[in-house]
């Protein structure tokens, strides 16, 4: 071993210096800070969400304390405590589990720090926080109703499949209910033959849809509870020789949910018929305004709804400007 003791001591001190340097690199302290605590950045929706929140907060002159818990509820609780210790003005949170977040809400209440749940409400409790949530059921119902009309206009009967999200997530349940509500009105045209549980897992979605298409080769109507599954859906439909644009005999009437850039791309290229859009810009504004209002001592309702909208082949040109996915798609495809 050629290293001597002096080298070793110098190396240790340099290591310490490097560690303190790292703390400089991540420095973030300001006068007014808002904590933005997400459980993960697992799809474009959440990436776009945190980006829009960041931009909005910076525009309003706030510093941001960001943390991702990686679906670890205990870690997120610790992050909330750290945010409280940092004397933040408010906390915008996306929790993993609607029950496990309640002690964090109580801790925020005790410290008089307003907490807003972004897009995912907590379970019922006596603790006070504000939840921003899309009107999932209505948005899904409106989007699927358009597709049902398309199915009816085709003059044929259609077999339908739905990709369902994690049933522990209220958003997933409401989207499923919106789908059921819509197709329930078109029982003479649409027969639901496959309900595919995905647990918000792309691999499970792909395997489930592939199996469903093999068991029911006549499936010609599809609803996905989230656009983040689009790549897997395209792959499965291509393998089943069913990936075709509107007007082609092989076209599967396809309805999405969320309003991803990929969904806009498919709408534009006529592979998707309709998509339920959560108004991410509006939800962000609601979340930040709720914190400011609570901080100012004003009364805010526990649940603030984003009405969202359905973008369809019929209203696309008129509504696309409100679709967050279109805005991002346009940034990626200038001109």
């Amino acid at each position: 071993m050629s290293m001597n003791r002096r080298d070793f001591t110098v190396g240790t001190l340099m290591g310490l210096a490097a560690m303190s340097g790292l703390t400089v690199a991540v420095r973030a302290e300001g006068d007014k800070t808002i904590a933005v605590l997400f459980d993960g950045l697992y799809s474009e929706f959440w990436v776009a969400g945190i980006k829009i929140i960041r931009a909005d907060l910076e525009k309003r002159g706030f510093k941001i304390m960001e943390a991702i818990s990686d679906k670890d509820d205990n870690k997120q609780f610790e992050q909330v405590k750290a945010a409280i210790a940092q004397k933040v003005e408010g906390i915008i949170i996306v929790q993993t589990d609607s029950n496990a977040v309640i002690p964090a809400i109580k801790a925020a209440n005790a410290a008089n720090v307003p907490m807003v749940h972004f897009n995912r409400p907590p379970a019922q409790s006596e603790a006070f926080s504000v939840a921003i949530q899309a009107d999932n059921q209505k948005i899904a119902r409106d989007a699927v109703l358009y597709s049902c009309e398309v199915a009816k206009a085709s003059g044929k009967k259609h077999q339908a499949a739905i990709l369902i999200g994690n049933l522990g997530d209220p958003n997933a349940i409401q989207r499923r209910d919106g789908f059921d509500e819509a197709v329930g009105q078109y029982k003479d045209v649409i027969d639901v033959v496959a309900r595919i549980p995905t647990e918000w897992d792309a691999d499970k979605a792909f395997a489930g849809l592939t199996n469903a298409l093999q068991a029911n080769p006549d499936i010609s109507f599809l609803f996905t509870s989230s656009d983040f599954l689009i790549p897997q859906i395209q792959q499965a439909l291509e393998a089943a020789d069913k990936w075709a644009p509107i007007g082609d005999d092989k076209h599967v009437i396809f309805t999405g949910f969320d309003g991803f850039p990929a969904a806009y791309g498919l709408m534009k290229d006529k592979f998707m018929d309709a998509c339920g859009v959560q108004n991410l810009f509006y939800e962000t504004t609601l979340a930040i305004q709720a914190i400011l209002d609570l901080k100012a001592g004003q009364k805010v309702e526990k649940l603030l709804l984003d009405p969202g909208f359905a973008i369809t082949q019929a209203n696309m040109e008129e509504k696309k400007g409100e679709m967050w996915g279109y805005v991002l798609w346009k940034e990626a495809n200038p001109g």
Binding site: M1, T23, E29, A67, D73, N99
Partner: protein, 347 residues
């Protein structure tokens, strides 16, 4: 164990004594805290100190269990599944929303069941390693997958939600009943005493077991050289089984603390804690090759990791940066362990 630590330390002079010292990681903690202070002044507040001690308790207990397994030259990857499974089993017994024994009366049976789950998984791991002669890595990887899946499956039978909530106040109050509140300057130290007390008891019990009992000597001997231990008449198989069982029970105890803290039995509870646990034990200085390790070292490792984590949290560092820094520190600790042995033992 380092039977000739004193002699070896003398060989390295001051730096050698420093690096080989049991207090080296504690010194690093102090230096790191001083380096971070200008950027995060709130780090030295009573409130953050209270948060850190509360955050340490669950991690420390599971790390203590992992120390037993690492000292016998094993590894237990199934601790995350034990935390999750014990949490949902306990919650399903005592939940006030349709539990088997709902309410405060179900708390004791639930806690016993949770510890039983941990002990049973640990026993299964130990038996698989000794009776089937399977590598601990493979055994515990398999049991981790199996019991993590079982925890999710079990939950679906007890709730329509993704976790089991509405736990009785006697259980959720573990973090609320006895709280030390001490104003220090402009800040207030808030410390849940029961979890801290449980962690202290576990640490002292484990320290005494490893350093003062026959079982402790057997554990070090089995980890240092299994064949020699067997020739010396040590019950190698029983010692290994016991080490895995202790580890399982410690993981279940962590499951109890975490589910009490979050007032929920979640099947993904503790899912991401593995890196922190093994990282803390290795940073403390326990050897991944077995035969060397102390509870005091693990305590230091957990303190360092929690300090690092807290600082990065307070700075608002991104998850990716936290992973990179933690990974680098754990790698540095493993390298340091190898280096200090090679430098100060070979020279």
């Amino acid at each position: 164990m380092v039977p000739d630590a004193g002699r070896q330390a003398r060989r390295g002079g001051f730096a050698g004594r420093l690096v080989r010292s049991e207090y080296f990681v504690l010194l690093l903690c102090a230096l790191y805290a001083l380096a971070a202070y200008p950027f995060v002044p709130v780090l030295f507040s009573a409130e953050v100190a209270g948060n850190m001690i509360a955050d340490m308790s669950p991690l420390l207990i599971v790390a203590v269990g992992q120390t037993f397994v690492l000292v016998i030259a094993g590894i237990d990857l199934s601790i995350t599944a034990v935390i999750a499974l014990s949490a949902v089993v306990g919650a399903s017994i005592m939940t006030q929303a349709g539990g088997y024994l709902p309410g405060n009366g179900g708390v004791l049976p639930a806690i016993l069941a949770m510890l039983g789950v941990g002990g049973a998984v640990g026993l299964l791991n130990g038996l698989s390693v000794t009776r089937l002669n399977m590598p601990p890595f493979l055994v515990t990887l398999a049991t981790r997958m199996f019991f993590a899946g079982l925890a999710i499956w079990y939950t679906t039978f007890h709730t329509t939600s993704s976790s089991i909530a509405d736990l009785p106040p006697l259980f959720t109050g573990l973090y609320d009943f006895v709280v030390l509140t001490l104003p220090i300057g402009e800040s207030v130290l808030t410390l849940p005493l029961l979890p801290v007390l449980i962690a202290v008891i576990v640490v002292i019990g484990a320290h005494v077991t490893l350093s003062r009992t026959m079982l402790g000597r057997w554990i070090y001997a089995v980890g240092a050289n299994r064949r020699t231990a067997r020739v010396s008449g040590i019950p190698v198989e029983s010692t290994i089984i016991l080490a895995f069982t202790i580890c399982g029970v410690c993981a279940a105890l962590t499951g109890i603390l975490m589910s009490s803290r979050l007032q929920t039995g979640s099947p993904i509870l503790g899912e991401n804690v593995l890196l922190d646990v093994i990282g803390a034990v290795v940073i403390g200085g326990t050897s991944l090759f077995g035969g060397k390790g102390k509870i005091v070292w693990t305590l230091s490792g957990v303190l360092f990791l929690v300090l690092l984590d807290t600082t990065l949290k307070l700075l608002g560092a991104s998850l990716f940066l936290i992973f990179i820094i933690k990974g680098a520190v754990i790698l540095a600790a493993a390298t340091l362990d190898t280096l200090r042995n090679r430098i100060f033992v070979e020279h």
